[in-house]
Amino acid sequence: MAHQALHDDTCVVVPLYNEATVVGDVVRDLRTSFPVVVAVDDGSTDGSAAVARAAGAVVVEHPINLGQGAALQTGIETALRLGAEYVVTFDSDGQHQRVDAEAMVARLRSGEADVVFGSRFLDARTRPGLVKRAVLRAAIVYSNATTGVHLTDTHNGLRALNRRAASTLRIRQNRMAHASEIIEQVGRARLRWVEHPVHILYTDYSRSKGQSVFNAVNILTEMIYR
């Protein structure tokens, strides 16, 4: 039980791009439960990598900016090389909760599923704005129609995978279309998945970096012409 309280067989992957002001706190908080945090610095120009390293993360540095999808795949491959049994993907801007990640890993440990997707729409804790809600809803409808996996929240950065699931992923969408791609590959590999209610904390900071409608157009193009 002792080792389960301290998840030393779990690796938390944090894709990182110019988040120097918040990533230190995110990594320190994560490390109170998860000793191994892999921060994938995607060519940040604000010293994010140094901040993450000082906070105790294993930092993997992309020599050039490649995009969040590429950073996730790099982090997952690093986690596998480190011998992780469970891999959690966690955003670097502080919008996810460590306790949610712990609960999701617990569900993997129970053998209930190979993949646990975080969903902000399973309970009423998360309150996205109107436009954000509309864009997310459209993304959910599209993703459910094209991937064959029916989720209530398709663009949530908080996920937990066991080693088998993590090894089957091959994220090729470098930029934002990776969220749908992960779901599609999970469906195609016939992995067992469940959704877990998570709380997304929309701070002024995360809102200032939020996704615009232009991104939706870009994602759609990337999904058609891949």
Partner: protein, 127 residues
């Protein structure tokens, strides 16, 4: 009019070609054949400039010049789509390269155990 049908089919073909991954040898061969054919057509156009007017009349376009312009637009669309695809492929290769560098740097692979020195063995045999 015949030209409308031809152009619509051409545009649809360009869109579909963009969806399919260009496959190595066949794609390259196609590109080369296209270049040769284009050079041939260009040569013929110089020698027989009136041919375009005849073709234009046949497909229902006013002048040969207009027909050339339509053809150029379709060719440009095709070029755009195939170039986009090639850039995507190149981006993918750069990604794999950058990832390999990043991961190797952060978590060095376990050192390969030294191969038992073969020279010693052969050396022993010779003695």
């Amino acid at each position: 009019m015949l030209i409308k049908l031809l152009l619509l089919v051409a545009i649809a073909a360009v869109f579909v070609l963009g969806l399919r991954a260009p496959s190595g040898a066949r794609h390259l061969a196609l590109r080369r054949v296209t270049v040769v054919v284009a050079a041939l057509v260009a040569t013929l156009s110089v020698v027989f400039p009136d041919a375009w007017n005849a073709i234009a009349e046949f497909v229902g376009v006013g002048r040969g010049t207009d027909l050339l312009l339509y053809g150029l637009i379709v060719a440009f669309l095709l070029y755009m789509v195939t170039t986009y695809r090639r850039f995507r492929d190149m981006e993918q290769q750069i990604t794999l390269l950058a990832r390999r560098i990043a991961v190797d740097e952060a978590v060095p692979r376990p050192a390969v155990p030294p191969v038992p020195a073969e020279e010693d063995v052969t050396g022993d045999d010779q003695r």
